[in-house]
Amino acid sequence: MEFTEKHVEGLKDLLYRMADDLLILGHRNSEWTGLGPILEEDIAFSSMAQDKVGQSLALYEILHELGESDPDTVAFTRNDFQFHNCQMVEFPIGEYDFSLVRHFFYDHADALRFEALTETVFEPLQMVTKKFKGEIKYHTMHANSWLKQLAHGSEESKIRMQQSINELFPYALGMFEPSDYEQELMESGLFIGEAALQQRWLDVVVPTLESYGYTVPTDAAPLFGGRKGVHTEHLQPLLDEMTEVFRIDPSAEW
């Protein structure tokens, strides 16, 4: 079918959501470097951070080919209201239970998003998501093994994990905030749409958590806003820090 301007806008919006999520969560994950509960986890979170920031770069490059600014400019010069990431990824790392549960929720969603996009009609995105799929399977494996272990590790670990699940679930649902282009994305074969993705995610996440012995607050109302540029008080300070050196002289080569 013929792509209209609205299809392209929808595609760009989808790419921005994905890229911004990956950049911000990658940035957050990297904050565990040197501070993890065991060395192996410092290393694991750093690996995942590198994958995520690398994936965000690949998506910003596609956006650049679609006429947006270059990746450094896009990533290092926007303010919070111009970011399309969901709110869940922008929270500080918190305690380890919080970071692990966020990692579990987010990475299952991304794995399914990438899976769905391997069939998108937009070939550059199809290509990169095929590559991302190979990386993300280790992220979900890591998340699952930790959620499982800590469900049975100690009374404290189980309580902490359950509390973080309860706290984060409404924000996790916020990952699937519909865009203004759902119809265009679906009819053109660009993407299956957020509602379908959310259903696939629930079908994976709920039985997995229940099998580990957690309860899932399925009646929670989603917390939206991030996809439309409405963010928590945590995003702008993150961006200020991230761009601190870049802003010294944006025209300089670093």
């Binding site: 470097t33 040197g34 060395l39 410092d42 951070a49 920031v53 800590l150 601190e244 080569e253 670093w254």
Partner: protein, 329 residues
């Protein structure tokens, strides 16, 4: 990365081997003289084991504490290229800590005990990490020159006698050589960049010169290395030799970039082939080693907080009866 400023146990030489079986000791020394590597279950003198644990442990702690000054720049690295590279670099350093703790564990001290000794201030780590990385340029200078110094030292130590430590060092040096390239590239961009960038990197170099000179440890005439530790190939090469090697390799490269070093006496003596320089202030070095550097308290506080925050995770997953004695390298 790690310097040569290993803080030795000040035991008298003759007491080191006093209680050892002379036949086994002679066999052990003959193996080392022949270039054999000593492996975890081989016979070894108690003092050999003790000194190695101290040394490998100090090295491991240096990697972990060393991740902190650079780590603070991961979230501020300018642009994707630097951000990705710095994440990978600091991750490598933490991985070196993991390799080294496992090498030390083969000698009978658990990682938990080593960590406790670190946060209680009982074990040392390289002095250089008690200085702040004030600007992005500091992180570049660290990645280039501190890692370069570490390679000089670690290449020497990789020819030592304890198998698990030597193999860990071989792997570490391979990774450090990439850090060096990253650091050099980073410094080149700053040194050839805008006036502001040049100023940043020159300032950082001025700040780091004394810590870098300290990095290799006190001059040989001031530091007493027990002869037996050299013979056992626990300690390889002298502090002054390492410092000379470093100066020879890197001072010309620094000058080539149009940068200066804050020592007007620094020059190579063409007759002796040795570098001459103003002795850095060794009183400052001693003060910093003894806990009075600009960041000692902060570094240990961060490490302590991380340990405390992570305790519930470790309690939930670690088996008390588990023993890790298989070296990773």
């Amino acid at each position: 990365m790690y310097g040569n400023a290993y803080v030795e146990n000040p035991a008298a030489t003759n007491s080191l081997t006093a209680n050892e079986n002379p036949i086994k000791l002679a066999e052990f020394e003959a193996r080392i003289a022949a270039g054999d590597k000593i492996e975890p279950n081989d016979w070894m003198p108690a003092e050999y084991k003790k000194q190695l644990i101290r040394m490998i442990e100090q090295h491991a702690h240096s990697e972990i504490i060393g991740a902190l000054p650079e780590g603070t720049w991961i979230t501020r690295a300018p642009g994707f290229r630097r951000k990705l590279a710095l994440m990978a670099k600091v991750q490598d350093e933490v991985g070196h800590g993991q390799l080294l703790y496992s090498a030390a564990e083969t000698l009978g001290k658990s990682r938990e005990d080593m960590t406790n000794d670190l946060i209680n201030g009982k074990s040392k780590y390289s002095n250089v990490f008690n200085y702040p990385a004030k600007t992005w340029a500091d992180s570049a200078v660290i990645a280039w020159l501190i890692d370069a110094g570490a390679i000089v030292n670690q290449l020497a130590n990789s020819k030592g006698s304890y198998g698990p430590y030597c193999r860990a060092l071989d792997r570490i040096c391979a990774e450090e050589s990439f850090h060096l390239k990253y650091g050099h590239d980073n410094v080149v961009f700053l040194a050839t960049g805008t006036p502001k960038q040049r100023e940043m990197v020159q300032d950082a170099l001025n700040r780091w010169w004394e810590p870098i000179m300290h990095f290799f440890g006190p001059p040989d005439k001031m530091s007493v290395h027990t002869e037996v530790l050299m013979r056992w190939k626990v300690k390889m090469g002298t502090n002054d030799d390492m410092r000379q090697t470093f100066l020879d390799m890197y001072v010309p490269k620094i000058w080539d970039l149009g940068l200066t070093l804050p020592d007007e006496n620094l020059k190579k003596n063409d007759e002796t082939g040795k570098w001459e320089y103003t002795e850095p202030n060794w009183e400052v070095f001693k003060q910093v080693i003894n806990g009075n550097g600009p960041c000692n308290k902060e570094r240990l506080a961060v490490r302590r907080t991380a340990e405390e925050k992570g305790r519930w995770v470790r309690n939930a997953i670690l088996r008390k009866d588990a023993k890790y004695v298989t070296p990773l390298a």
